[in-house]
C-alpha cells in the first residue's frame, strides 16, 4: 500500500476540508457535502421534499451561467459528477483529470454559493419530484425499504425525502432562495479531495473562493423515537417483499467493527453468508436475500431484505428469524477468518481510487469527526478478535433485542 498523508483544515467560514494527495494518480475527486437534508425540510404541507428539489435545481444554472452553460462548462473539463440527497445533506461528487481540479472547484463553488433557482427551472424540477413521489410503489423492493425506515428510525430522520404533493406545490423560487441561504452554511459543510494534487494550493484556493461565506446551519433534532413494530402495504405484485430491521451501533462506536463483521457472516459479502446459504441455496425460498448495515453518525440500522413468492413468504421470514437467533451463539473460527480476509480485500480492492478516497475522507469527517488512512482502517480490522465479535453477537442478538426489531411487508397479502 502506498504511503498516505492526509491534511485536514478548517476554512475561515467553518467548512472542514480534508485533502489526500495520491502519487501516480491521473485524476482527482471532490466530494462536497452541505447540511441541507430532508430531515431539515419544512414539515408536510409547508414544504416537505424541499431538499430533494434543491438538489435538482442547484444544477440548473449558477453565477453568470444558465443551466445549459453550467453543464457545458463541466463537460468541457470532462468532469464526471453526481448529486445526491439524504436525511442530513446534499452531496456532490465530481471526478476530473487532476490538472482540471481548480477549475472544477470554481464551478462547484458557483453551484453551492450562487445557485440561480429560477421560476421555470422550479416548475420542471417540481414536476419531476411529483413524478418520482407518485411512482414510489412501482419498485416494490425500494418501496419496502422506505416503509421499514418509517418505523425503524426516529422522526424526522425516518422520512423518505420525496416530500408530499402539497409540500412540493408550496415551494416558490423565493422560499427556495431563502431556505438555501439559511441552510447551506459552511459550519456543518465538509469537503474531501483526493488525487494528484497539492494540498496547500487547494486549501489556499478554497479560502479564496469561499471568502465571505459565513454561518452555522441549524441541525435537525429527533422529535420522536422509532415506533418499531410492523407495517404492511398491500400491493399487486407477484412477490412478497419483506424487510426486517434492528437498531445497531453508530459508526463512531467501538462496536461498529465487530458488528460489521457479524453482518458479513450473517448476510453480507456476496454468496457465502449464512442467510444466502440457508434461505436461498439450501431451501430455494427466495431469489434475493441479504443484510446490510447502515452505519451513521448518530445511529445505525441493520436491515435484512428478502423477496419471496407469497406462498413461501412466512417460511422465509421464519428461516431468517432462526438464523438471527443462531447468530447470538457467535461465529466459527473459519467464518471469522474468511470474513476478515473478505473485509480487508474489499477495503484494499475498492479503496485506492480517488473516488473511494474522497468519499472516505468526507464520510469519516462527518461520521467520526476525524479522518483515517486506508492503512489505519486495515490495521483496525487486523486487531479485531473472534472473542470480540462473539461477545458483541451474544449481546446484540439476544432474544429480547431481536423482538425489538421492526418488520415491513409489501405484497399481495400480509404475513
Amino acid at each position: 500500500m502506498k504511503k498516505q498523508n492526509i491534511e485536514v483544515f478548517t476554512i475561515a467560514g467553518g467548512m472542514k476540508l480534508a485533502i489526500e494527495p495520491i502519487e501516480g494518480a491521473t485524476t482527482a475527486t471532490i466530494v462536497w457535502t452541505v447540511p441541507v437534508g430532508s430531515a431539515g425540510d419544512p414539515i408536510g404541507d409547508l414544504g416537505a421534499g424541499e431538499s430533494n428539489v434543491l438538489s435538482e435545481i442547484i444544477l440548473r444554472g449558477a453565477g453568470d451561467r444558465t443551466s445549459r452553460e453550467f453543464s457545458d462548462a463541466l463537460d468541457r473539463l470532462g468532469v464526471q459528477r453526481a448529486t445526491s440527497s439524504s436525511g442530513y445533506a446534499i452531496t456532490v461528487s465530481a471526478t476530473c483529470m487532476a490538472a482540471q481540479t481548480e477549475e472544477t472547484l470554481q464551478l462547484l463553488c458557483d453551484m453551492y454559493l450562487r445557485p440561480r433557482i429560477e421560476a421555470d427551472a422550479l416548475e420542471a424540477s417540481r414536476e419531476l419530484a411529483l413524478q418520482s413521489l407518485g411512482s414510489l410503489t412501482d419498485d416494490p423492493q425500494h418501496f419496502v425499504s422506505i416503509k421499514i425506515n418509517e418505523i425503524a428510525i426516529p422522526a424526522p430522520f425516518n422520512q423518505h425525502g420525496y416530500g408530499s404533493v402539497k409540500g412540493l406545490n408550496a415551494l416558490t423560487p423565493e422560499s427556495l432562495h431563502a431556505s438555501w441561504k439559511r441552510r447551506c452554511r459552511p459550519t456543518g459543510s465538509i469537503m474531501g479531495v483526493a488525487g494528484a494534487i497539492d494540498p496547500t494550493k487547494i486549501r489556499d484556493l478554497m479560502e479564496r473562493l469561499l471568502e465571505g461565506w459565513r454561518g452555522v446551519s441549524v441541525e435537525p433534532k429527533e422529535t420522536a423515537s422509532a415506533s418499531r413494530g410492523s407495517i404492511y402495504e398491500k400491493q399487486v405484485s407477484s412477490q412478497t417483499h419483506m424487510c426486517l430491521a434492528l437498531p445497531s451501533p453508530r459508526e463512531a462506536d467501538d462496536a461498529s467493527l465487530p458488528h460489521r463483521l457479524m453482518v458479513r457472516v450473517l448476510g453480507g459479502g456476496g454468496m457465502s453468508n449464512r442467510l444466502f446459504s440457508e434461505v436461498r441455496e439450501k431451501r430455494g425460498l427466495c431469489y434475493s436475500v441479504g443484510m446490510s448495515y447502515g452505519c451513521g453518525r448518530d445511529r445505525g440500522l441493520s436491515t435484512i431484505y428478502a423477496g419471496s413468492t407469497p406462498e413461501r413468504a412466512s417460511e422465509t421470514l421464519a428461516c431468517i428469524r432462526t438464523e438471527l437467533a443462531r447468530m447470538g451463539q457467535g461465529v466459527t473460527e473459519g467464518e471469522f477468518t474468511r470474513a476478515i480476509i473478505g473485509l480487508k480485500s474489499g477495503i484494499v480492492m475498492g479503496g485506492e481510487s480517488t473516488m473511494a478516497r474522497a468519499a472516505a475522507l468526507a464520510g469519516d469527517l462527518f461520521r467520526r469527526g476525524h479522518v483515517r488512512t486506508l492503512a489505519e482502517v486495515v490495521a483496525t480490522v487486523d486487531r479485531l478478535t473472534l472473542a470480540q465479535v462473539n461477545e458483541h453477537a451474544a449481546q446484540e442478538l439476544d432474544p429480547k433485542r431481536i423482538d425489538e426489531g421492526a418488520l415491513a411487508v409489501v405484497g399481495p397479502g400480509p404475513l
Copy 2:
C-alpha cells in the same frame, strides 16, 4: 498513461487467453467466458432457461469440493467474484490480491471443467429460476427492456433467458451434465487476465490446468429476423415505461465509434445530453430518460428508455421522436468537442483498474477478435472527426431508418 503490453495465446484445446501485466497493481482480475448462452438453450418445453440454471449450479460444488467447501475456498483467498449469463455465454469475473492468482485460477478451472451438478442443488436452483421468471413483471423498467429485445433482435438472440415453466421443469441432473459437456468447450471460450502477474507463468499454468479439455462448441444461428413494429403490455403501474430501439453498427464496424459519440450527444453521458435537456429538464416530462448502445459481435442495438406519467407518455414519445429526427442533421462543434472529452475521460478514469482491463481484454477478443491497449482506444477517439459523426448521423437517422425502429410500452394504457 502507463506503458501497456498485452500478450495473446491460444491454449492447446483452443481457448483464447489475453494477459496484460499491470505494474504497480496490487490485484489481479480474471474474466472467463464460456460459450454457454441462452440463445443455445433447448427450445421451449425442451429446456428453455438451461444456461441460466447452469450459471447458478456450477457455483454449487466442483471437483472434490461441496458447494460450501468451494465457496469457503474462494473466501479464504479473498476472491470477489460474480457470474452472469447472456445470450452467448456464461461469464465469471474474479478479483483477488495478485499473489493469489494461481490458486484462484485452479478453483475456477474446477468450476468450469468439473462442476458437480447434483440433484439437490438442481432443485434449489430450479426453484430460484422459477421465482425470477415469475417476478419479471415486478420491475416494469426491466420488463420493458425484455419486451423491446423480443421484437428488436433476431431469434433466438431475442429471448430473455429466464426460460419457461415447462422448460425449467424438464431439466434433470443428467440432461444438465450432458449439456455442459457438449456446450462448455475450449474453442469459443475466452479468458482475460490483468494485474500484477507474469504472463508466461499464467500461460504455462493454464496449459497445465486445461490439459485434455478439447472440442468446439456449436454456435447458435439466427433462425428469424427481428419482427420490429410495436408491442404493448398492460400493467397496473403508476408510470408508463417505454423503450424505442434502432438497429445499429456492431462493435467491429468502423461506424461503431461515430455511433457511440452520436448516442452520447443524444442521450448518454449523464445530464447534458439532448434528450435529458429537452424531455426532462425543459419540459419535466419524465424523471428518467436516456439512451444506451448495446454493441455486440454480430449486431448492435441503440435503445432509448423513458418512464413517464400515463398522461404525459404520448408527449414524451413525440418529443423523443423529434430529437431523433433532429439528430439526423448532426451535432454541433461544441457538442462534438465536449462529447470527445467525456468519452476520453470516461475511458481513462474507469479504465485503469484490473477489473476494467480484464473485462476489456475478454470483450475485445470476443467482439473484435483482437485486443487493444487503453492507449490505442484513446488514439482511435482522437482520430474521430466531426464530419465523420455527422455523415454517420445523417445516414443512420434518416426518416426511413427511424420508422424501422421498434417500440415497447408497459403501463396502465397503450400509447
